[in-house]
Symmetry: C2
Subunit: 332 residues, 2 copies
């Protein structure tokens, strides 16, 4: 009885295994990745670090995997999604701020004067981030982000921003966790902006999100403790800030890191410099049709020096057009 039941169960699995490329007994763990060197790099890395008794075995506690967010787990065009959130927030707040009609950068923004707003440079953006990301409690901010996600739509795909995510990377996150990895986000984006939705979307809990942050203040309001978001930058988790963020928040060097831009360069270098097996990956945006194609000269997600080092050191570079069968979960 028992043997017959087992045969009945395993035969279909075996058939699937024989008719598909990279598969485990449970089927292909990365079905949206085309067969090839990139997919093989991932599978063989995970196989060797989980092979107990093997020369390159890594204990589960040390299987730390870090992922950039913008351009690596979700898209970042035509502008960073969190910047769009900030711009939308200014418009929503405008009725309560009649003074903005005559005050830059708000004036340009509210009049749809893109050129005027861009002319304001980093200072203009900082002013917009300040009014949209501070002056409220952490709980109020969470509600604001949730409301925005429930209503705002991406201009090209006409869907909520947290659906413009990469299906192959979702599969990779699940695959790594199934193999004992702890998956972290290490992003230049705001940590409190991400924590609101990443658990549901990526399966990454708030305590495994590292990001940029503003200063905060604890106070009692009528006996009730609140944490208030202040209009001052505390930590920028980008470029050199990424290995620092890893050291501060995780305190253990990753063995697996994935990014897509020069902002991830130092995080990849830091990962590469540890002892034992290492995986360094870059998403190269090469698909102008299904997504976008940009790299060395892009204002967003510029990928130049990190690409050179990846090529020189044989890091894994995903050619989005060639390596990804499917890009977004909503594709047919």
């Amino acid at each position: 009885m028992r043997t017959r039941a087992m045969k009945a169960f395993f035969l279909p699995v075996l058939l699937i295994a024989l008719t598909h490329g990279n598969v485990t007994a449970a089927g292909d763990p990365l079905p949206s990745w085309n067969d090839g060197a990139v997919k093989n790099n991932i599978l063989s890395f995970v196989e060797k670090v989980t092979n107990e008794g093997g020369a390159e075995f890594v204990p589960p506690a040390e299987r730390i995997a870090v992922f950039d967010n913008d351009g690596t787990l979700w898209a970042e065009q035509p502008i960073y999604f969190q910047v769009q959130f900030a711009l939308d927030r200014v418009k929503a707040l405008a009725p309560k701020h009649p003074e903005w009609k005559d005050k830059q950068p708000f004036k340009a923004l509210l009049e749809g004067d893109k050129k005027g707003f861009v002319a304001g440079g980093a200072k203009a953006l900082a002013d917009v981030v300040a009014v949209s990301h501070s002056g409220m409690t952490t709980e109020e901010f969470e509600t604001i982000v949730n409301d925005w996600l429930a209503t705002a739509k991406h201009p090209r795909f006409k869907r909520p921003y947290n659906e413009i995510i990469y299906q192959p990377m979702l599969e990779l996150l699940v695959y790594l966790r199934a193999n004992g990895f702890k998956t972290f986000i290490v992003s230049g984006g705001g940590v409190e902006f991400m924590r609101v939705w990443v658990e549901k979307v990526y399966g990454i809990p708030p305590e495994q999100v590292v990001g940029s942050m503003g200063k905060q203040k604890f106070e009692l309001r009528g006996g009730k403790p609140v944490i208030v978001k202040l209009p001052a930058v505390d930590f920028v988790d980008d470029k050199e800030g990424k290995p620092i963020g890893i050291q501060k928040f995780i305190g253990r060097r990753p063995i697996f890191a994935f990014g897509n831009s020069d902002g991830d360069h130092q995080m990849l270098q830091w990962t590469a410099a540890g002892t034992g097996p290492r995986f360094m990956g870059l998403v190269h945006h090469t698909d102008a049709e299904r997504e976008w194609a940009y790299d060395r000269t892009s204002h967003i997600g510029k990928l130049d020096k990190a690409l050179d080092e990846a090529n020189a050191k044989n890091w894994t570079v995903v050619d989005m057009k060639k390596d990804w069968k499917k890009i977004f979960p909503f594709e047919q």
Copy 2:
């Protein structure tokens, strides 16, 4: 056959359950805690939040438990252990710094002039922390801490400092984790000082340690990336800093918090103010014989306002002398 085997297995367990007080099928999870209200508070809290289908069930992802370290998980007398580390470090470095012979606070410290050193106040301590905790890479610092733990001995117990830990709290950590809790340290101590040893001693991984920290710098040394510890304070994880630290590093409000001093007051308030079931605990140092007895007037681990609020709001206060059968693992 099967039923007989099950009886053979369950009968002894049943007998143990009948002859002991608070037990689960696997035996008493907190054997170093005396029976009484405190132990019952802990057991009944864990029981209700893990009771699937119960009114106070909490999903595993939200079972965040935070623990202060100094005076809560390990002892803090006669001086904070990390301060002892800093003082020992200055003595070890002295041969390379002949100028310290004429420079305060190092002069007083090296001459054993306690009074002179204490007269230097916070500035003297900051100077000692700076030279002992910065000017090296994070990897070099890890080696220094490990070497100190391997050689330094506590003046009263004549054992390494990481053995002067509380057996009942070790059992509590294990018990919580066995019930799906994620255990974190949230301590005023230095995060990099703790991360070196807490995983082995408490079973708490580096990424679940929140603490005070200095500024850091990423740089390439001969092509090799390093992170250098700078002599500047970045974050103080004490008092109002503790809820901020929880928000910054964990991003989710705990449902369970344990401290021992006014430095933990705001962390307990923040935990208490969430919705749903909550557990707030304080270790009250009441055992002058086996450990130390101190509270409202102590220079170290002062427990005054938090004790008042605990009494007023029925938080759980551990009377160390009465509630703990055994204090240290090395006791017979």
